[in-house]
């Protein structure tokens, strides 16, 4: 069954892919750093404090999350991941975007010409509905379709 949600396109774009879901805030430093350091071909979350996301591959997925949390290195870690092609293909935030994620997206766009699609403000109902491996379609106007 398809469900449709509408948010604000933070970085507009039309993409589709597979969901990976975090019910808790995503700590970018804790999630991305180890695999980026190890130069893995794909990043999986290494955040011990987010067991729901721990070990799941993030690269190329549609990351569904409330927001990002944690260290203020988060933005540049995200910039690195986006610039290196190791970030999720898109970020779907149930809450308004936070300052760290915003910085990462802006820095990658302005300084690296690299963009990851992002939509925020999708609401709690979005995060309650979406499940890992759900098919997701994102449209340029911030519409998000979950399911097939």
């Amino acid at each position: 069954m398809k469900q449709t949600f509408k948010g604000r396109p933070v970085v507009a774009g039309s993409v589709s892919g597979e969901a990976v879901v975090s019910r808790a805030g995503v700590n970018v430093l804790a999630s991305f750093q180890k695999d980026l350091l190890a130069r893995k071909a794909a990043v999986a979350s290494r955040d011990q404090n987010n067991p729901g996301l721990l070990g799941k591959v993030l690269t190329g997925k549609i990351l569904c999350l409330p927001r990002t949390i944690g260290s203020t290195t988060g933005g540049m870690i995200l910039q690195k991941a986006i610039a290196a092609g190791l970030a999720p293909r898109a970020f779907l935030f149930s809450e308004p975007i936070d300052s760290l994620a915003a910085a990462g997206l802006v820095l990658a766009a302005v300084w690296n010409g690299a963009e990851a699609v992002a939509v925020d403000g999708l609401g709690e109902e979005f995060l309650a509905a979406v499940r890992d491996a759900d098919k997701i379609e994102i449209r340029g106007d911030g519409t998000v379709v979950v399911g097939e």
Binding site: Q48, I69, G74, V106, L107
Partner: protein, 430 residues
């Protein structure tokens, strides 16, 4: 040219049109686009230096080094000399094997010297400006009440907003530098009166003053990025914002920022805005979180133990994340001496590193009596960032003990209360 709906001054408009050069234009565009996402309608001039979170020359941050190169090539510097987080390595004072050192020098922080040269070129204050507690007198990046800032380093942001009453958002690394370059920050969030009002009330009803790290952790996990107004803590801290209270709030803020995204908290009757505005800071409909002894214990029990062998003998202990103040350093000296006396020991049985700001370290080393006492315990003093040290996979595998919730959050270090940790390092076992 980037088109913005933000109200810009004539000068800002010219810079955005590229009249100050392409690199300055990109720096300003970054700051504006960032602010637009939060509804900022104008830029606010900065009243003080920026504080940077990125202190480490880790090759994975190649995009950051590239931005620095562009800034330097364009001859751009921050308007005021800035401070930055601690360095990652100190081979003289922190146990490091040859192999670990090889990983640090050749892999992890192979770009450290290059990066420090870049920092100097874009406006670093001096070689002693490496501390997460830049607001210490000994570091000298101490803003006043109401000052508009653009800081990163989550623990410093929480301290500046909450304890000093300055105004900074939780800026990301690089973005804070770009704000320093353009001398402005977008006005939104914690820069505004409305953004500083509390949407959570914390009712603290513990039987005694809880460990700052645990209380901060509990608050961070509950309120995440919102602003809490804490009742019941001021009295437990003696009702005065003295050095002891400031030290406690420094550690509380660091924990709330790393287990959540707290950039500002108010403590009833204690912190500057709470003293002036009181309950008027609390938004109508604010939610309440009751913290009692059981809740503190519940939070503590939720911390995973990531040592391979939970009964292992600790191989290293770190005290001072965020950096210890001078008064905390002297307190820890006494605490370790007392723990050793209780064990009938003269020297710690776990290599123990106390971390503080370079200026505090220098002042402590100049106190020959105190230094002799510390050296007699076997503990060492450094100004590194323990988190950056433990990012070395070889170091990170060690059974490391700490009383820092932040260090526990980002590494496999195991958390102990301050009293427990003193006992652990004296006994040599958990």
């Amino acid at each position: 040219m980037y088109h913005t709906s933000m109200r810009l001054s004539e000068e800002e408009g010219k810079l955005l049109a590229g009249e100050g050069g392409e690199t300055l234009r990109k720096a300003l565009e970054s700051v504006i686009r960032y602010g637009e996402l939060f509804g900022a309608t104008e830029l606010a001039p900065l009243d003080g230096p920026v504080h940077l979170v990125t202190s480490f020359g880790i090759p994975l941050l190649r995009p950051v080094f590239a931005i620095m190169d562009e800034l330097i090539a364009a001859g751009l510097k921050t308007e005021r000399p800035f401070t930055v987080d601690p360095r990652p390595c100190d081979y003289a004072n922190v146990p490091t094997s040859l192999l670990e050192r090889l990983v640090f020098d050749k892999i992890m922080y192979a770009k450290q010297a290059d990066y420090e040269a870049q920092l100097a070129a874009v406006g670093l204050k001096d070689g002693s400006s490496f501390s997460c507690a830049c607001y210490f007198d000994e570091v000298g990046n101490l803003p006043g009440r109401g000052d508009i800032l653009a800081w990163a380093e989550s623990s410093a942001v929480a301290y500046a907003n909450s304890v000093l009453g300055a105004r900074t958002n939780r800026n990301s690394g690089v973005l804070e530098l770009l704000c320093g370059i353009v001398g402005r920050a977008p006005r939104f969030g914690l820069l505004t009166d409305e953004g500083r009002r509390a949407s959570w009330v914390i009712e603290l009803r513990t039987s005694a003053l809880p460990e700052a790290q645990l209380l901060g952790s509990a608050i961070g996990m509950k309120v995440v990025e919102e602003v809490p107004y804490i009742r019941g803590l001021g009295a437990l801290l003696g009702g005065e914002l003295d050095q002891g209270a400031k030290d406690y709030l420094k550690d509380l803020g660091a924990a709330s920022a790393s287990n959540g995204a707290v950039g500002l908290y108010h403590v009833e009757g204690l912190t500057p805005e709470a003293r002036e505005l009181g309950e008027g800071l609390v938004k109508p409909g604010a939610r309440t979180y009751l913290i009692d002894d059981a809740e503190i214990e519940r939070v503590r029990r939720g911390y995973p133990v990531l040592w391979k062998d939970p009964a292992a003998k600790p191989r290293l202990a770190f005290i001072g994340c965020p950096h210890l103040s001078k008064s905390q350093l002297y307190s820890w000296l006494e605490r370790i001496e007392a723990a050793l006396a209780a064990e009938g020991s003269r020297r710690v049985r776990v290599p123990t590193v106390l971390t503080t700001a370079p200026g505090v370290e220098a002042a402590f080393r100049a106190d020959s009596d105190a230094l002799a006492r510390l050296e007699a315990t076997g503990a060492t003093l450094s100004s590194i960032c323990p988190l950056m040290y433990l990012n070395n996979p070889l170091c990170g595998k060690k059974a490391v003990a700490t009383c820092s919730n932040k260090l526990r959050t980002y590494t496999a270090a195991r958390y102990f209360t301050e009293a427990e940790l003193a006992s652990v390092v004296a006994r040599g076992r958990v």
